[in-house]
């Protein structure tokens, strides 16, 4: 034990850290703040800014804390007169070319250079010569503006593109005092992850094109939230001005989920929140036109018409279709409203994948579900397998997690799929197949007959699968490239693969889903079984086309315009009610439209792709009279004989925690206890196997 730990004394305080720890990290662990610009825990040491100079006893000169590995018995001083002189000197040099435009700089107020100059700097500059000048700003790409005069050449952005995103987009051009950040041949900086360099930049050199000159950091209040754009569930802070206006999303590091990164889709995808076309009142159709109305009039009409349909054609002729973007609370109450108040089992979410599987295939689904693992298991995997999956498209930050595992931890990647994806270049073995051959390929990797046949192309993948250590399999849950009638075979083969691998290795599965809260929509039963008892058959939206239904509720779902022929089918219904953020195509056909608040305007939880339940908080008020969906459903249910009685979203959370299989016993009953980083509910097959 003692052999892999070392003792170090920093400013008189003793601490014990694992061998190989970087001195700066060791100091941070015991609360000693050493100023840095170029070092970043996620990027590793480079030692170019010279700001983290410290004095190590026995060393003839000062050394950089970010490139020094702690050794046993090391005694370090971070506040000695020599260190302070060095810090003043480094800052004076860094400020030689840095413009004093803090009053108009976006970073002013949250700028490490500003803060550290104030704390450690010399106060005055002796430099009277001309500063270097550049044309500014330069538009680096669609998202980023670069002010080269402010740049202190810390390389963080360059290292991010070469080490983390591995797209090698940003480079350091020229040399010495003339060098600057740029791109190859001044091509635009286009990347799925470009926004991260704004947060990495320790000065105001890389700024958001979208937000430039629109805010000052000290005007903003932070609200912890969860990115709503994919099922990964990256943690964000919503920065709000005057308790009204969403200014930006920033990452709120959750090591178990996002590792501190955001993709551009998430980071810049907030315009919809304050959009002028948001619905502000309920709308009721009168003489063919939707007109503003009160909630009570809207509720009265919905109840009256649905109860009439139920009396005439039975409650199951009322279809309820929810969006998997809704929160756990909304989805759970939608399900209860339909089942308990309305009495209908005709419920589904849209969009969702379609498999022709029946109840007899439940063992396979069970296998996949029991192997569900957590995102951070990717870090310790020896082998990562993509099965017809493109994480970069479905859950982009997963790509960075996989790259990190492949680079830092010598994991290997097998890419089994129909076409190349951005991660294919990192694969140790690639297996390509025609869309209708997926089952043959997945089974062929394990079948003795196929082994003996010894197909050459299988050899590499097979060898890796035969190895040791934990495996994480990622598959695209909707199998978009596989013909519908072959998806059942794909799922069954995948389960077969998991079962086979499990005999020898730890196996974890991560399904890449399509919409942010899709996992909860499934867990809460927002999908009705078909005649054969399976919930995975033809989606309810498609069954609307058959004319078997008389009324429909679309809760955040907008299939009209996407599903062919649906416009006519919806127009033919007796009654349609829609809850939406804006007047969608589907809402445009409704008899009643209710104005919903979005995720940034309410408290609630979402369940991510690996069943981690995370909390988002209310950041801004909803526009006009818009309300949370759960609230509108509870209010609406009062007009039925079996009303719902939730007084707050937390009461719904408690009910979920008490009644949903897999959540019961794992999900705390209050938001405070779910905590800022969320909790994992049922899932984590790796744990189960251990």
């Amino acid at each position: 034990m003692a052999e892999d730990r070392v003792h170090v004394t920093i400013d008189g305080a003793q601490t014990e850290v694992p061998k190989g720890t970087i001195l700066w990290e060791a100091a941070k662990d015991i609360g000693v703040d050493i100023p840095i610009f170029c070092y970043h825990s996620k990027l590793g040491p480079v030692g170019v800014c010279r700001m983290c100079m410290v004095q190590v006893e026995g060393m003839p000169k000062l050394t950089t804390a970010c490139t020094t590995t702690v050794t046993d018995g090391m005694v370090v001083h971070t506040r000695s007169p020599e260190v302070e002189k060095a810090q003043r000197g480094v800052l004076e040099f860094l400020l030689i070319n840095h413009p004093l435009d803090c009053p108009i700089c976006d970073r002013g107020g949250e700028c490490p250079l500003q803060d550290q100059t104030f704390q450690y700097g010399p106060g005055i500059s002796r430099f009277v010569e001309r500063k270097r000048h550049f044309v500014k700003p330069v538009r680096l790409g669609p998202t980023i503006d670069l002010d080269r005069e402010r740049c202190i050449l810390c390389w963080r952005c360059v290292r991010f593109t070469s080490e983390v995103a591995e797209d090698n987009k940003l480079i350091l051009v020229d040399r010495g005092s003339e060098s600057f950040i740029g791109t190859f041949e001044a091509e635009p900086y286009v990347s799925n992850f470009s926004g991260n360099v704004i947060e990495l930049c320790p000065v105001g050199a890389l700024t958001s094109h979208k937000q430039r000159f629109t805010f000052r950091p000290w005007e903003l209040q932070q609200h912890p939230s969860i990115c709503p754009h994919c099922p990964m569930g990256c943690n964000i802070n919503i920065d709000v001005r005057d308790a009204q206006e969403v200014i930006r999303f920033r990452s709120r590091t959750n090591e178990a989920v996002d590792d501190g990164w955001l993709c551009d889709r998430g980071r810049f995808g907030y315009d919809f929140i304050g959009s002028p076309d948001r619905l502000k009142t309920p709308l009721i159709r009168e003489d063919g036109t939707l007109r503003p109305a009160s909630f009570s009039a809207a509720y009265r009409l919905i109840a009256e018409r649905l109860q009439r349909v139920a009396a005439e054609a039975g409650p199951h002729s009322i279809a309820g279709i929810a969006s998997p973007r809704l929160s756990n609370e909304d989805l759970f109450v939608f399900r209860r409203f339909l089942r308990d108040s309305v009495g209908s089992e005709s419920i589904d979410y849209w969009p969702r994948p379609e498999y022709s599987i029946d109840s007899g295939d439940s063992a396979a689904l069970q296998t996949l579900d029991s192997a569900l693992t957590s995102i951070d298991r990717i870090d310790s995997a020896a082998l990562i397998v993509l099965i017809a999956a493109d994480p970069s498209e479905k859950e982009p930050v997963m790509e960075l997690r996989i790259r990190s595992a492949l680079n830092k931890r010598s994991a290997q990647l097998v890419d089994i799929g129909i076409h190349d994806v951005p991660l294919s270049g990192k694969a140790s073995a690639v297996l390509r197949f025609a869309p209708d051959q997926i089952d043959g390929v997945l089974r062929g990797l394990f079948l003795a007959a196929a082994r003996e046949a010894g197909s050459e192309e299988f050899a590499g993948a097979r060898e890796l699968l035969d190895g040791d250590g934990p495996v994480v399999l990622l598959y695209d849950d909707s199998f978009p490239d596989i013909p519908q009638e072959r998806r059942r075979d794909a799922l069954l083969s995948l389960a077969y693969m998991v079962d086979n691998l499990r005999e020898r290795r730890q196996v974890g599965v991560i399904p890449l889903l399509t919409t942010s809260n899709e996992m909860a929509a499934r867990d809460f039963g927002v999908m009705a079984p078909n005649d054969s008892g399976s919930v995975w058959g033809e989606p309810l939206v498609d069954r609307l086309l058959s004319g078997d239904y008389r009324a429909a509720l679309f809760w955040g779902a907008n299939p009209v315009g996407t599903v062919a022929g649906l416009t006519e089918a919806v127009e033919a219904l007796d009654f349609v009610a829609v809850s939406e953020l804006r007047l969608s195509e589907t809402a445009g056909l409704a008899d009643v439209v209710l104005p919903a608040s979005c995720f940034a305007e309410k408290v609630g939880t979402v369940t991510n792709t690996c069943r981690r339940v995370q909390v988002f908080s209310e950041a801004v008020p909803a526009p006009g009279m818009a309300r949370p969906d759960w609230q509108m459903l509870v209010e609406l249910s009062q007009r039925w004989d079996n009303p719902l009685s939730y007084a707050s979203p937390e009461a719904i959370l408690a009910d979920i925690s008490g009644s949903v299989p897999g959540y019961a016993g794992r999900l705390p009953t209050s938001y405070r206890r779910v905590g800022p980083l969320g909790v994992a509910v049922k899932g984590g097959g790796v744990e189960a196997a251990e």
Partner: protein
């Protein structure tokens, strides 16, 4: 894939790659091969080199931009690279650069409209003992004075006129101030 480099150049780069434990180390010789053939490190040349070297184009561009002896723009027949570092600067490099610039009507980094001369300020040429010094194509000219620069410019122009229409890199007059080759 290769667009501007000849098969011979690609083969030469491949051969260089084989000479190093880490093939990436062959980037400098590879760029010299490309520049000798193309005349400068054009974007196409960089892309070709990157493809043969199996490196991102951005990495190659970083190296090209770092070294003053790789040309990021098209250059003239005579590339006059005047040392700008301290010993030469103390002994009048700026005066030499200014003089050449005046004579040719271009500023450092520029090329004469006839495509004959390019003037560049470069990092130390390692001949500080005979500063100020400049390198024209592959030859050193040392202990420079404005008068010697004038002589040299005249000779180079006359030589170019004699050889007009011939090889791109005209041989230089064996003259003034030239000490041992490096």
């Amino acid at each position: 894939m290769t667009r501007v480099l000849s098969d011979e150049a690609v083969a030469a780069i491949q051969a260089e790659r084989g000479r190093y434990p880490d093939p990436r180390s062959a980037l400098l010789p590879a760029l010299h091969i490309a520049q000798n053939e193309v005349g400068w490190c054009s974007a196409d040349a960089i892309e070709d080199v990157a493809a043969v070297m199996e490196l991102p184009t951005s990495d190659v561009e970083e190296v090209v931009s770092f070294y003053t002896m790789f040309y990021e723009d098209r250059v003239g027949s005579y590339v006059m690279e005047v040392c700008k570092t301290v010993p030469c600067a103390i002994l009048g490099a700026d005066q030499i650069i200014g003089h050449i610039a005046d004579r040719l009507g271009i500023s450092p980094g520029g090329t004469t409209p006839d495509g004959m001369f390019t003037l560049l300020r470069v990092e130390c040429l390692a001949a500080c003992h005979r500063a100020p010094v400049m390198q024209v194509n592959s030859r050193y000219y040392e202990n420079l004075t404005p008068e010697r620069v004038d002589q040299l410019l005249d000779l180079m122009r006359r030589q170019a006129e004699l050889r007009r229409g011939q090889a791109r890199e005209a041989p230089l007059p064996p003259l003034i101030g030239r000490v041992e080759a490096v």
